[in-house]
């Protein structure tokens, strides 16, 4: 119970300068994280250099909660590559494998058909109405590396937003009451 008294005491005795310093420090931490994220985007050439696997359609290779590192180069898409793509009208990107590739002679445009390893049928059902192929502009990147389990934090925070608020609240409290 002495701890609660201490906490209340420390909140009461906050000086303005100290508070501003702490807010600025917090701001620095957040902006550094943002800088690192944007730099990653530049280096890997894709809008989302790191994605979390949300469904089980690529099991047993990628399970829900795994993290994938993406990279996008100008090199042509080939069969077998694991690509991350956006379908018009859906906002969640999908990570599946390219099983058919038809590349045009002169323009280099490409038609790609994808399928999840764990699915029985290909992805035509997932594409937009009347769309039978993916084109280059749908594809956001290729998966080149992976880390297991680390993405569960993101999944929990997305599906149970209350946990996100609790975490941020606790962090805020910690920052305000820390004596450093």
């Amino acid at each position: 119970m002495g701890w609660i008294g201490e906490t209340v005491d420390s909140i009461k005795s906050i000086k303005i300068r100290q508070l501003v310093t702490q807010v600025v420090t917090l701001g620095m931490i957040v902006t550094s994280a943002l800088i690192i994220w944007k730099a990653l985007m530049c280096v890997t050439g894709t809008e989302s250099p790191v994605v979390v696997v949300l469904s089980g359609s690529m099991e047993p290779g990628f399970k829900r909660g795994d993290i994938l590192f993406l990279h996008m180069t100008k090199e042509p898409i080939r069969a077998g590559e694991i690509v991350v793509f956006n379908v018009d009208g859906r906002d969640i990107p999908i990570v599946h494998r390219a099983i058919k590739v038809h590349e045009r002679e002169n323009t280099g445009e490409v038609d790609v058909l994808t399928k999840g390893d764990n699915n029985d049928i290909d992805d035509i059902g997932l594409y937009a109405e009347g769309q039978f192929w993916l084109h280059r502009h749908h594809i956001m990147g290729r998966a080149i590396g992976f880390l297991p389990y680390v993405g569960w934090v993101t999944i929990i925070m997305t599906e149970q937003p209350i946990i996100k608020y609790i975490l941020i609240g606790a962090l805020g409290l910690l920052v305000i009451t820390s004596k450093d």
């Binding site: 047993p60 290779g61 069969a79 099983i99 002679e105 080149i144 992976f146």
Partner: protein
């Protein structure tokens, strides 16, 4: 290090950082493994070869696939995804890759195999260019690691061709 919480926090941060290093080293160690995979594919039969109602050619064939991918498995390998694709050229397309069959190999023991199957996925052209077409059959593998960088490669086998007339 003056309080319990501080020490616990320091330990957790260091332990997780060290864990990230360990995973990176494990992934890096894959570079040093000796890999010599081999494969052989034969076309046993062309089951059907026709032109669909909306103009595209379609082939159905039975393949005999023999491969030994055991040397690709390392301590950091979770599974290997293997697939066979037909690759060919047409006037309109500089490259066509159509996956005919794929499988997931979870353990080293299953990596040496021989199967005879008909194509899992439909072999359909964008057009009607397949009569008498020469094509390559490629066996691709994608190694999915327990942690770290994925790598892939393939073996190209050429010299296959489709009959000159529909059946």
């Amino acid at each position: 290090m003056h309080s319990f919480g501080y020490r616990a926090n320091a330990l957790l941060t260091f332990a997780v950082t060290a864990l990230a290093f360990i995973c990176a080293i494990a992934s890096f160690s894959d570079k040093f493994s000796n890999q010599n995979p081999s494969a052989e594919i034969q076309i046993l039969n062309i089951n059907r070869f026709k032109k669909q109602s909306h103009g595209n050619d379609e082939v159905s064939l039975t393949l005999d696939i023999a491969a030994d991918l055991q040397s690709l498995f390392t301590w950091n390998t979770k599974q290997i995804f293997v697939f066979v694709a037909a690759e060919y050229e047409t006037p309109k397309n500089s490259l066509n890759q159509v996956s005919l069959w794929d499988a997931i190999i979870p353990v080293k023991e299953n990596a040496k195999f021989r199967i005879q199957i008909s194509n899992k996925y439909r072999f359909i052209d964008q057009g009607h260019n397949l009569r008498g077409k020469e094509f390559n059959l490629t066996l691709h593998w994608h190694v999915m690691p327990k942690t770290g960088k994925m790598f892939a490669d393939k073996i190209v086998m050429s010299g296959y061709s489709l009959p000159d007339a529909y059946r």
